[in-house]
């Protein structure tokens, strides 16, 4: 076994406005031929930038410290130090693409939008393989076929924006491998993908690596992914490698404090203890047969055609007081639309959203003066007479007055805070906008109270958001969402953009706040493990419909619907010994058939090609509070069908 890449004492300096910064200090790692090295670390740990140094792709402000060595053994056996090669050296042109290829996190952005996929793949082939245009095209088609893109002959002439994210990442892999590299650097290649697509791409990369005998550096923040793909692992923290070793050693018996902390923070689906279902039936929100249609305008010659797309289809569920309902599903499944329609940020096309209130004018403003309270009460009372509020049919004026009862936390804490407002003004905005409070002192008092609760340093209230990290910003967002003491908050992927350690803090904060304030959450996320940590009940969405819905424990440990099973099997666990055998889900939806038996309900999956019953698909309660989308059929279980075994 020989070493292909040996990085020694790599130190990088960036010239910035604040002076010289060293984002990578004294980093050493080596990679054996045919092996995979996983580099893990949180954002800003320097994992990405150190591999860019290998490709000489550093930004102009960067310089490599003279003591650094990047010893690379080329295909022809020659070993040289990339750190000492001057830019523009012809050897570098050969290494880039020809010897070392790279794939990136954003499959959207890594292809240029103005050339076809084929054009860009052929470019790499022609640069490194010395083939003519026709041969290059043939090879490009062959590579697209190899990475599992159906109909590659047609796809090769498509533009990047005509493909889905997963397909683009496959095409990117095809591009990277088409020039025949011996080392592949993959920088968070599956982070932007859905979990089922991620599983497919990981498997593809593993297979291709074995087939081509390639070496690989796999950069990721996801310990589950790295446990499944890497042989060795290097943990980076603040520009340094804190721990190195085989995957098994590092994950099973971490030595360094940071590694231990990181491993502890990772939510693990295989070890999670989900919250028990609430033992009350005080419903807060009822969603009944809600559907949302979007209009898609298609420009035809001289006219515009309007097509309706059903984003959410006939969804029925409820949320109890003080409960968290998790909503999972892949991108485009309609999760966000459900959340927004419940808040009436968009209007449901059909169905009802009913907001229950204990008594009329049920508004609790602990610190308001009697006069203020009177004013608010009279406003609310006039607006909302006794009984439940039919949110779906509320007019815009009444809706605005009802807003303080509900709020929303967004995914991206960077774009959801106005950079021109102070933290204090941002948090106070819901109070001001709804007219809930008028006196400056009262608003200040309330802002300070909620900020303290969200663990925001009160000194920071006068600052502007740009000074804060992602986690701090998300705390500000949460404080803003809670300042009006809402009963219901939609958290739309609110921890997805955060590092795992910060993620854990935010999840804990949300749980604490729920316990104190009794607020209900709709927790939308694609990360199943986080959802399992926080949710009392979970709904699984697919193509705008609920396919399974019930207590978290049942959904995650006894899933019944094939889609739920596929989704759960696609999650890589941070356990190098765990079997990773994702069920391949090719988009063709098979609904189970439910039959009533003396014992209760029995589910079976119809055989492929078997005529489906003409019964409509509906959510059927197969167990206490556990609903599965299936077709209900009367009569006994037929012999030729297999009964779903509990997982």
């Amino acid at each position: 076994m020989s070493t292909i890449l040996d990085v020694k004492n790599l130190t990088l300096s960036f010239r910035t406005d604040e002076g010289l910064v060293k984002p990578v200090r004294d980093v050493s790692f080596s990679l054996e031929r045919g092996k995979t090295l996983g580099i893990v670390g949180e954002s800003g740990s320097g994992k990405s930038v150190s591999t860019k140094a290998v490709m000489q792709l550093l930004p102009g402000i960067a310089s490599v410290d003279p003591a650094s060595q990047i010893n690379y053994t080329a295909k022809n056996g020659e070993t040289f130090d990339i750190a000492k090669i001057r830019p523009g050296d012809p050897r570098m042109g050969k290494i880039r693409g020809g010897e070392i290829a790279m794939i990136f996190q954003e499959p959207m952005a890594s292809f240029s939008p103005i050339y076809t996929i084929g054009n860009q793949i052929m470019e790499a082939i022609q640069l490194h393989r010395g083939l003519n245009k026709r041969q290059a095209r043939e090879l490009a088609i062959e590579m697209l076929d190899k990475v599992g893109i159906t109909n590659p002959v047609a796809r090769v002439d498509q533009f990047p924006h005509e493909m889905s994210g997963g397909m683009r990442q496959r095409a990117m892999i095809a591009l990277a491998l088409s020039s025949g590299p011996q080392l592949l650097i993959a920088d968070e290649p599956t982070t932007a993908l859905d979990v089922t697509i991620q599983a497919q791409v990981l498997r593809l990369m593993r297979d291709l690596q074995a087939e081509l005998g390639m070496s690989m550096i796999f950069i990721t923040h996801d310990l589950g992914v790295v446990a499944q793909v890497a042989d060795d692992i290097a943990v980076m923290y603040k520009g340094e490698i804190v721990e190195r070793g085989t995957v098994r050693d590092v994950i099973n018996t971490p030595q360094e404090a940071y590694t231990k902390r990181l491993l502890n923070a990772v939510p693990r689906l295989d070890r999670v203890v989900p919250p028990k279902p609430l033992n009350n039936n005080r419903r807060l929100i009822d969603v009944r047969n809600m559907s949302v249609d979007f209009e898609v305008r298609k420009k035809k010659l001289f006219r515009t055609e309007v097509e309706k797309v059903r984003a959410v289809n006939n969804v029925t569920f409820d949320i109890l007081k003080g409960e968290t309902v998790g909503l999972v599903g892949e991108s485009g499944s309609g999760k966000t639309t459900v959340g927004r329609a419940m808040l009436r940020a968009i209007d449901p096309s059909e169905g009802e959203v009913v907001f229950h209130r204990k008594k009329k004018g049920d508004i609790d403003l602990a610190h308001a003066t009697e006069a203020e309270l009177q004013e608010v009460r009279s406003k609310l009372n006039m607006a909302f007479p006794e009984g439940p509020v039919q949110l779906h049919s509320l007019g815009s004026d009444l809706l605005r007055r009802f807003r303080p009862e509900m709020s929303l936390v967004f995914q991206d804490p960077y774009s959801s805070l106005n950079p021109r407002m102070t933290v204090r003004d941002i948090i106070a905005e819901p109070l001001v906008a709804s007219g809930l409070m008028n006196s400056r002192e009262k608003i200040d008092e309330r802002v300070r109270e909620i900020a303290a609760r969200c663990k925001i340093d009160l000194e920071h209230l006068r600052r502007f958001p740009h000074a804060f990290s992602g986690g701090q910003r998300q705390r500000i967002c949460i404080a803003r969402a809670l300042v009006s003491k809402p009963k219901f908050v939609v958290c739309d992927e609110c921890v997805s953009a955060l590092d795992v350690s910060i993620q854990a803090e935010i999840v804990t904060l949300l749980k604490e706040i729920q316990a104190e304030m009794g607020v209900s959450f709709l927790f939308i996320a694609h990360d199943l493990a986080v959802v399992a940590q926080i949710s009392h009940r979970v709904a699984v969405m697919y193509h705008g419909q609920f396919v399974e819905y019930g207590p978290t424990e049942k959904i995650f440990f006894n899933p019944q619907h094939p889609y739920t099973k596929a989704l759960l099997s696609a999650v890589p666990h941070p356990d190098p010994d765990a079997q990773f055998n994702p069920i391949r889900f090719d988009g063709e939806m098979v609904y189970p058939i439910a039959t009533r038996t003396p014992q209760g309900m029995s589910l079976r999956i119809p055989e492929r090609g078997q005529a489906a019953t003409d019964r409509p698909i509906e959510l059927i309660e197969i167990d206490d509070g556990h609903f599965v989308a299936c077709r209900l059929q009367d009569g006994p279980v037929s012999s030729e069908s297999r009964v779903l075994e509990p997982a």
Binding site: M55, L57, G60, G88, G93, K94, I95, R96, G97, G98, A101, M102, F104, E106, A109, S110, F111, S112, P113, I114, Y115, Q120, E123, A124, L127, H128, F159, H161, E162, M172, L175, A176, S179, K299, K300, L301, F302
Partner: protein, 331 residues
């Protein structure tokens, strides 16, 4: 692409139709009509007493008593079918004669200025973006601000002084004395080109300064795109990479504003023309406004707006070629 072209072409014709109506309305705005002014000019100083009946006779004779819609179709029909822009009142001849060569001279200056602007600003803007933060970049920025701040007529004067000093020739005007009234020939065209560069440089000066900044800004954005890094990572040589990926998109904002540039250059033309002793349409337009010679003014306005609309059509096609997303997004 064919469908896209067709769609845009139909759009262009429709826009031209609307524009021609607006131009016609503008021609109608000044108080009184052609007949009034014709009568005033014809009989003023002759001592003849003009009655309302006389004016009405002229009106009937010229067809001005017809409803506005009919006159509009007469006017636009004459232009489209016969190239006849009507009578120039102040010069007592046809508009076509008045405008004459000036159309081609103006078009020549406009075109030369556009070409010169783009040929200088695009490569320099790209270069400045690639070398961002270098001395060259800062130098170009200073030049840009100078270019933007310097009034055109002043530049024209300065340049004329130096051109005269260095080349000695009579640099004003568009032709040397011997070609002034000569019929068109190759030699005359060459002579025109020799004179054309000066107004083109003067007019291009500020446009270049402005467009360098535009190209530099978009190029800087494009250079930071992941797709550029990805292309670099697959070993595309730097020069090819720059042209193929970021530069193609960086010229986008320039291409989309060709129409504006035409308009801007035309607006700046008269003052430069006065300094350099050129006779061109902008100056004529001003004069026509002052004389209330609306047929001439309308003809020039119409040609200018048609030129802008046509350039916009061209820029649409060019954009669709540069960035296929535009074309695909539209169908």
């Amino acid at each position: 692409m064919l469908r896209f072209t067709l769609e845009r072409f139909v759009g262009m014709v429709f826009t031209m139709l609307l524009v021609s109506m607006m131009v016609f309305l503008i021609m109608e705005i000044p108080p009184g009509d052609y007949a009034d002014r014709y009568a005033f000019r014809k009989y003023s100083g002759t001592g003849v007493n003009v009655t309302e009946a006389d004016v009405q006779a002229i009106r009937v004779e010229l067809g001005l008593d017809q409803p506005m819609l009919v006159r509009y179709f007469d006017w636009i029909g004459g232009i489209v079918l016969r190239g006849d822009f009507g009578q120039a009142f102040a010069f007592e001849t046809s508009v076509t004669k008045v405008i004459g060569d000036k159309v081609w001279l103006t078009a020549g200056i406009l075109f030369a200025t556009l070409i010169l602007t783009y040929m200088i600003s695009v490569p320099i803007g790209i270069f400045a973006a690639v070398r961002r933060g270098s001395a060259v970049d800062y130098g170009l920025t200073v030049f840009s601000y100078l270019g933007l701040a310097l009034p055109n007529f002043l530049l024209a004067l300065v340049m004329m002084y130096f051109a005269n000093l260095w080349f000695g020739a009579d640099i004003g005007g568009l032709f040397s004395a011997e070609y002034q009234n000569a019929p068109w020939s190759l030699a005359r065209v060459w002579d025109m080109l020799k004179h054309l560069w000066l107004p083109a440089v003067v007019l291009a000066w500020s446009a270049v300064a402005y467009q360098i900044q535009t190209v530099r800004a978009t190029m800087s954005d494009e250079l930071n795109k992941l797709s550029v890094t990805a292309a670099r990572a697959r070993g595309v040589p730097e020069r090819k990479l720059l042209i193929k990926y970021p530069a193609r998109l960086a010229v986008n904002p320039i291409v989309s504003t060709i129409g504006f540039d035409v308009n801007r250059i035309f607006s700046e033309l008269p003052i430069v023309a006065v300094v350099l002793g050129l006779t061109e349409l902008g100056e004529l337009l001003l004069k026509a406004y002052l004389d209330l010679d609306m047929n001439v003014a309308g003809a020039i306005l119409l040609m200018l707006t048609f030129a802008i609309v046509f350039m916009n059509f061209l820029s649409d096609l060019l954009l669709a070629w540069l960035d296929p997303r535009i074309k695909l997004g539209a169908t």
